[in-house]
Structures are given as C-alpha cells and as structure tokens.
C-alpha cells in the first residue's frame, strides 16, 4: 500500500517537512498541525513520526466508533472522514506510533498523514531522502 517510509539515519532535524505538510494541508506554517513530526533532542539523532498506514487490522480504524477512519480501497491509505469524527481520541490512544495520529489543536478532530493522495508534499522538500514515498 502507499505510504511514507522514514529513514531517520539520514535526518538532519531541519523540520522543513513539517512546514511543507502544514502549508499543504492547512495553508499555514505550523509544525503543530503537521502530519509528519520531527522530534529533535540535540545531540541525539532526530526521531521521525509519521503514519505507516498499518496492515489490516489497523488499530485506529478498529477503535473508531463512527467509522470516520477508513481504508481507501485503491491506495490502501487510511483516511479520516473529517465530518464523521467526533473527537473521542480513541484512535490517538490506540495508535502504536505515538503522535502519528493526533488531535488538531483548533478543530479538535483527529488528523493524520494521508500521503497527500499519492503525491506527498513533505517528500518533495526532503533533500536527504529521510522521507520517501512508496507507491501502491
């Protein structure tokens, strides 16, 4: 299935991916609204947090009471139908990658990486190839 592969060994911690994501998804520069997160604890190697589009059964999909989280049949990407999300945070607790699915700081609904539908904006800006796109 389509997903973003993280290679933290190349990551310099620049965080440009977070800005690219928030610009694409929210039309603002704001790392706290980004679906990919770079955690920098200098001098340690940065950590990359991004949804890996789990194999079946995906924990977030399983625990969603309103079926707001569903898998796109063609691409296999786990997607959130925002109008169905009631902000229960069950998915946030169930996710095995803490931070990959999180509550939007203003809208109070769950958000996560949907690989920009197959043309991820963050990957375009990652010159070190710490983020790579793997297609279907």
């Amino acid at each position: 299935m389509a997903k973003i592969l993280a290679n933290p060994e190349n990551c310099t911690g620049c965080g440009i991916c977070m800005l690219a994501c928030s610009v694409k998804k929210e039309n603002v520069h704001n790392p706290r609204k980004a679906r990919v997160v770079i955690k920098v604890d200098w001098p340690n190697r940065p950590k990359i947090v991004v949804c890996g589009q789990c194999e079946e059964p995906a924990p977030c999909e399983e625990v969603c009471p309103t079926r707001a989280i569903f898998r796109d049949e063609k691409t296999g990407i786990l997607t959130i139908k925002t109008e169905s999300c009631i902000g229960c945070e069950n998915c946030v607790g169930a996710c095995t990658v803490p931070g990959a699915i999180f509550m939007h700081p203003e809208k109070r609904i769950a958000v996560k990486c949907d690989v920009c539908g197959g043309n991820p904006f963050c990957v375009k800006y990652c010159l070190t190839k710490s983020l790579e796109f793997r297609g279907v």
Partner: protein, 607 residues
Amino acid sequence: MAGGYIGKILRVDLTKYEVLSKPVDSGLIETYLGGKGFGARILFDDVRKDIDPLGTENEIIFSTGPLTGTLAPGSSKFEVVTKSPLTGTFLNSDCGGCFGGELKFAGYDAIVIKGRACRPVFLSINSGKAEIRDAEGIWGRKTSDTERIIREDLNDEEAKIACIGPAGEKLTRISCIWTSRSRTAARGGAGAVMGSKNLKAISVRGNGDIKIAQPTKFLEAIDKVYEEIEPLFMWAPSIGTAATVSIANLAGILPTRNFQTGVFEEADSISHEALMKNSTRSVACFPCPGRCGKLTSITTGPYAGTIVEVEYETIYALGSNCGVSSMEAIAKANSLCDEYGIDTMSTGCTIAFAMECYQRGIIGKQDTNGIELEFGDHNALVQMVEKIGKRDGFGGVLAEGSVRASQIIGKGAENYVMHSKKLELGGYDPRGMQGVGLGFATSDRGGCHQRSAGLVGAELLAGKKVPADRYVDRFEIDGRAKLVKDMQDWSALLDSTGLCWFVGSYMKWVTVAEILSAATGISFNEHRLRLIGERIWNLTRMFNVREGFTSKEDSLPERFLKEPMPEGPSKGYVCRLNEMLSDYYAIRGWDEKGIPTAKTIKRLDIM
C-alpha cells in the same frame, strides 16, 4: 497584518515584573522590515546616549523577521539586539537553531526587555501567554543543564530555550546567549546583558500559525530560490564551514598565533578532513536544507565524551590562532565555551592575545596561575577556557575581552590586541584580503566578518564555490569600497528577513524581493530592499555616532597596516585601509569623520 508576521511585540519590564503585548506598527514593517531593522529602530528610539550596557536602562531585544520559521530555505534566524557591553556600539548578534521560529509560533515577532529583576528569573512564553518565573534554582547552572531543568519545570520537552551560562551571570563581556540545539547568539557580550537583568533564560513554545499573504506565489518563489542556492549544496551538506581552513591556509590568510602569520604549518590537522574523521552526522537548523552543522563526537584520548558541532570561525580562533593543532582539544574547548556560555571566537582570540604576551615576556607563569600559556599547548588552551568560563584567576582578566585585558596587563600589551572597536576579529588576515579589512574596520558591531561576509567568497573562494561574476582580486583595492557597502547593506537586509547568510548569500536581491512580496503581501522590489538595507546600516551608524564613535574607531591594529605579512602566498602585503576608507565614506554619503551627512539622513528618511 502583513503576511509572515504575527503582528505582536512583547514588551517586558523586569523591574516592574510587567509583560505587555503591543501590536506591530505597519510603518515599522515598511521601513525596517524585521529582525535587525526592528531591533535597531526600537533600541535607537528607546535608549539614551551613554547608558551603561549592563545597567537597567539598556534593552535586550529578540527579533525575528517575516520569513523566520517559513519554507524559505535557511529561515532559522532571529536577532539579539542591544548595546554591547564589549564594544559600546550597537549590537545585533544573530542565531539559528530553532528558537526564532518557535517564538513566532508562540505568538510574537519580537520581545523587548528592559529593567532588572530583583532576583533570578526566566521568561516563559506559551501560545501568547507570557509570564516571569522564578529561576533561583537554575542560577549558576551551565547551559545544557539550564535547558533540561526548565523543560522539566514546564513539563514540556519541546520547549525551546535561550539562556545564559555562568559566564553571562558573572557579566563576562565575551559571554553569549546559548539556545536549544546548541546554537548561540555569540558575539558582543549579549549574555552579560541578560545576566545584568537577572534574566537566566527565555522559554518559547506555541501552537500558533504563520500565515502567508500569497501562498501560491510564495511556493513558486521558493522553487525558484532552491535553484539559485544550488552552489550551497556543493559544500554545506558534505564538509560544512570547516572547508575554509585549507582554503584560507593556501591563500596565506589563516590567522595563526594571534595573526603573527597567515600560514599554519599544521593546518592539515585542523582541516575539514580532520574534523570529518570524528564527525558522525550533519545537523541542520530549523528550517534549513543547508545542514552545515557537523556533529563531532570525540571517542578517544583525554577529551573523549565531547560532543559538539565545530565550525570554521571556532577552529581558527581556538585552533590556528592559538597555534593549536589538536582537533579534539578544539572540540573540547568549543564545548566548554558552549556550556559556560562564552563566545568561541572572542575566547579563542583573547587567549591567543595572552599567548603572544606570554611569548614576549609581558606576562609569565606568575600571572597565569601557573599555566604555561604557550602557543600550541592544547592543555593550556582548554584550562584557560575553563578559567574564563568560571572567571577564575587570570581567566577573570581575559573574561573582559582582549582590549580590556590588555589595559589591565599594561606593559605594552595593547600592541598585541587584534580587534576593531574592541571586538575580536573574524578568521581572515586582512593583509591578504583588502576588502575584509575594510569590512572589519567599518562593521557596526566592531571587527566582524559577517557584515561584509560576501567578501570572504568574493576574495577567497575565487574559482571555487562562487559564481565567476563575483570574484575580485583580493590584493586590489579598486572598487572595494563600493563592494563593501553593497555587502553591508545586503547583510543588514538579510538580518532583517530571518534568512541565514550562508543560504541568503546565494540569493539575488530580486528573488528575495519576490519571496518577501509573496510572504507579506507588500510590494517589495530590489530598489526598495536596497534602500531598507542602507537605511538600517545608517541607523546603526547613527547609534554609534551618538555614542561618540567617529572615523578614529574605524581602524585596524597596526600589525595589519604596517607589518607586511611575513611569509606565504600573501607575503609582503599590508592592508591599505586608509586608502579605501575615504572612498567608502564618499560612497556612503558620510563626511570625512565618518558621520552620515544631513543629505544622507534625509534621503534615507531616518530621523
């Protein structure tokens, strides 16, 4: 509010324990842009002539630009602006890392701090909310400890910290401000200004947005600028700034043993190849694709356990300028500087000055607490750095910076201080780089290489990493005054946008105008940006004029003017500063004393 800006400035009065949020004046944006420009205007208007830089009246300003924290490549910078306790001049000391962007996410374009808290405090800003908190428990702590304790205190591991170490607390005039990810606002003693205000640290964190006025145009301009900065990627990701060691040595301008020569016989030991032997990986500021930082990890020998990012100016100051050829010792000394919160450049150069005094018998072991302060002795270097950090014994003398130390020492020591306006110099001997000499002498904050940093490329890297149309002959002075002026105006502009010089130096005025126009929604063009750069440069000049500085202080040590370079590819040359200086004043529209004429002031609409 124009795009790119948050639209708010935080005013802090530590004497009154008062924090106030003020709107950003749109007139200030149009005329001074941000960063250095904002800081210069605010400082000039707020403080009077002759105030004590370490008194309550001085202000310390943390100021971002409209591009700070955006997708514009290299937009990591914020500026610390204050009256310098080292030079007595205007000071802007810029800093990368991650603090600048976070300040904007936390809800402010700038923080202006005055007064003095009655006991140690730190300022915490979280999503628009600012509070002054107790710092009694962290006073005396080194920098990385301070970061850790504040994060624990706030229960926020993502808080971005700007703080001082023990040196800033002790009002050390060569102290720096250290920030998260170990980036510093290093030069000019801004750490001591924080110390004088009992302000140990500032913590920023926020969920806020930076909004762009014309997002589609902005992204188009960014795509274009990535093509323009392509040459950056030839050196920054792979070898970093340490590449300059070999280049400078081959040109015979690598400052060695307190600028006694420009050739260091052991340059190979401190070259980028030597650094890369210990380098584990590249590190970038937020948000920069350049990744010039090289994380160095020393695993063997007496300095094992040291982890630090070493860059060129540090290598020259603590290395060749002290005759030290041990990269491990340079890394250790660098790390100590960061932990105590002192500027690696001024520290290295001040020790180099003391080493020359020792060499010439002006001081001896009885003065240096028994340390044999000989050129090339890396143990002596590391011990002395620690003493400066602690202000212990002779370290307390050197902590005042090289000029004041020479006055304390006396006995002709003044002849061996390598400075301009009391700021220790950047790592380029001006005898072999004429324009750099003029840049050192006329820099607003004293002997700084960055204010006309393009010259390093133009004069030194000819044929290597810069486009051919930017080369100049480093021994010639024709046209150099105009070049220095243009580069100073360019630096003033870049320092007001939030862009890093390393990345920005490859950009064209017109491209930066496009990015700024799309980001802010204000129509900028090259002419307008040049005017803003020149306006800022002249305003900081007026600040210095108000403090009594004239052409007398636009000077260099006699060594560069009278003693020809003794050996190497720059042998026989002196810096022809005075010939360039009158040209420079004329081009600037300044009188023969170096004071902007009434006509210039009016043209730039400064007063």
